[in-house]
Symmetry: C2
Amino acid sequence: MGFFYNLEAVFKPSSVAVVGASPSFGKWGQLIMSNIVAGRFPGPVYPVNPGQEKIFGLKAYRSVTEIPGKVDLVFVATPARTVLSLMEECGDKGVKGVVLITSGFSETDNHGKKMELEVAETCRRRGIALIGPNTMGIIAPYADLFATGTHSRPGRGNVAFLSQSGNLGNQLIHWASQHGIGVSLFVGTGNEALISCTDLLEYLEKDSNSDIIILYLEGVEEGRRFLDVAARVNLKKPVIILKGGRTDAGRLAAQSHTGSMSGRDEIFRAVCRQAGLLNVRVPTELLDLSAGFSCLPFPRGNRVGIVTLGGGWGVVTSDECNERGLIVPPLPQEIVDAVGRHLPPYWSKGNPVDLVGTRDPKAPIAAVEELLRWDGVDAVISLGIIGRLEIVRLLVDSTRAADPEISEDFLKKVEEFSERYERDYVSSMVDLMERYEKPILGVTLAQTREGTVRTVQGNRYSGVFYQTPENAVNVLARMVEYQRRVGSLRTL
Amino acid sequence: MGFFYNLEAVFKPSSVAVVGASPSFGKWGQLIMSNIVAGRFPGPVYPVNPGQEKIFGLKAYRSVTEIPGKVDLVFVATPARTVLSLMEECGDKGVKGVVLITSGFSETDNHGKKMELEVAETCRRRGIALIGPNTMGIIAPYADLFATGTHSRPGRGNVAFLSQSGNLGNQLIHWASQHGIGVSLFVGTGNEALISCTDLLEYLEKDSNSDIIILYLEGVEEGRRFLDVAARVNLKKPVIILKGGRTDAGRLAAQSHTGSMSGRDEIFRAVCRQAGLLNVRVPTELLDLSAGFSCLPFPRGNRVGIVTLGGGWGVVTSDECNERGLIVPPLPQEIVDAVGRHLPPYWSKGNPVDLVGTRDPKAPIAAVEELLRWDGVDAVISLGIIGRLEIVRLLVDSTRAADPEISEDFLKKVEEFSERYERDYVSSMVDLMERYEKPILGVTLAQTREGTVRTVQGNRYSGVFYQTPENAVNVLARMVEYQRRVGSLRTL
């Protein structure tokens, strides 16, 4: 049903209005309005509030119909009882879409449910694409439109997020922006009185900015249609789902939250598996997967080469690989020889390749390349080059404190060298991925100031550096799983 | 065998020497030396290096025996071939312990193995407690002794870390210091030529600073003795183990790393379970558990109250609880009434308690207290109060950018209020834990600048705030598991 509405105009509006806009710090009408303005939406932004002359220095209008120019998209933060007549006004004005922040509808009581049905019916009649009610807003980076209560502003990218829970969605987006994960669209779908997740999936199927789709679901109305659409989209663009309300306790919580009755989890998971869709268990996994799926080439198989800065880490990573169905193949003599040319003679001579603290700055990159070049591995996990800068900084501080003879200039150079080395390492990894079309998953030695994703201008892939080996292994295992599921479905 | 040696003098030395001390940035002798000095070890620090007059402004000695004062502990970073005669010298000097950083021993080849046996035998004969060889060093915060290659300096606390892998140990300690987890002792045990993890466990059993013991193991020589000791210690102080080399791939990696042959994982786990010991799967779990186990009262049962800032999160957390054997009990009418007094009428009226965006600053604290007061729950998980400050800061920045009329003074006050509120909230949680002797596990709304643990001066417990619900639930589930295992063993 999505295509009956002009969702393109909703998510790439040329002008927006905020009904209930307010200068009062922390109110919904102020949250949305200030986010849109501070986020530099390029088109006109019309505050609507009969009680104000100006808001943020912009002329405030008494009603939507009073606005002189055309209005594509209207955000609404006024009480539930005002909404029905407002929708008629929006219809008169030729508005394409409404994002209805207002709560107090079907999630509250029967009266709210009745109002919600009427609002939806009015929008349907007037051809208005209604998002919500009870939504936390939307973010459309390609339109420079940031319109959620939480003012995170992720960069442009190819991951679309749809969330039936506002607060979970906001948290995901906040994490995404902190970790450098580029976003094509975020929609808090709220009560889905009119436009559902399924409609949005159909929109995203054709949206050229979106390559990966992340869903947080609590319940789906038209289950059959949802699965058909999701399965179809998933063949082209990975659809990754976190389903809340898997257990009795969660289901009970979901019921009081969105009023949705979610079905039994085992059935949902079985159906998803059949349809080739990936299910995840926790929100952070959605983030990890969106980084890997959106920034790396897909592996053609499950064989992993590991390059590590220290033995213990290689052990832990090998264990994780083994437990997740990934193979850590032994190296044939020719590869041992090839890798060995770059390392001290006492290196591990196996997979994981332990760099044994070599000081040759080229060795870590050469070791990764030798593995990628070999047709015995489909992916490489690189442990601990990125993040060393943080450790170097600690050491520089100590040396400054301990050694009165050390030259400040030398210490500055050490830090600069480490910074440059990490930057160059990221570039090398991206280059290697382009060259060999195999993914490299990095793991940081220490938490870095940058996030998980590091882009390199002008490249198709980006560097991805997780904080732990288990996260990297999980993402790789899921990429393999996706390839297998979709591969076997595609050949049907 | 640990008590034959004076480990007390090793971990609380009054003077230390560094053999192979060097001014050359990045060499082991510089790393250790600069860390000890910059970490403000209070006793004398003697650099030993025949090629230098002074190091870091301190007089350098040609040998250990040349040092005028007494020397409790010696760090050694000179090549393997120099070590044997050096141990005799240390014996002559009356040194209590040696931390042998040097590698090139049993982890390398048979020749190295032979040297290692000789070194160990010499130390045994001379009564020197030998840590290593092939260790990344030790950290003893209560002695202000920081002597690892990675210069993380965690604060004093009650968690002891023993690690058979240096790099994993260093990473754990780095994380611990970033997350505010207080440490009593860290020992990289290296090849364990003389002092083993088991000896150190016996030492920690009596160490009054250590309440929780974290082990990263790859292999244990005297398996029976280790298990007997670990099981005994665990009844008094939780012993939490990560065993590397669980799978074939990991075992192979471990073998080339420390030369240890680790046994079959299923057997190890079964034996641990019988002994009441907790096993974890990944390094970050060690961190999570050390925060919770060291800072919170233990729950007396598995019933959880959840207080959440948003519905979706309550759902996800309930699911996790259910899947981990924790019960999220429904609230009886009296508790619904008690909680309801602090919330708007449209609140969820169940467990999870959804705060439904109430603006009353006292409500989140009151809701937690009403649940703790009720004898139907043994613990509370509080979702999303801490971390709101980060979101407020984003909003303040936006408002400053969007609203030309806003007063800077007002925005400053908003930020200050949020800061104070978080501080007060932490204090309240700590107070409530002292009052009700039940744990409160927090989850942050957004990554904060502070770490997981927030101490409140003069209190027995500390605030613990994880980044995700699943981490909080896992820790709580493990605390319940520990109580049960140890409880049933204690009554035997």
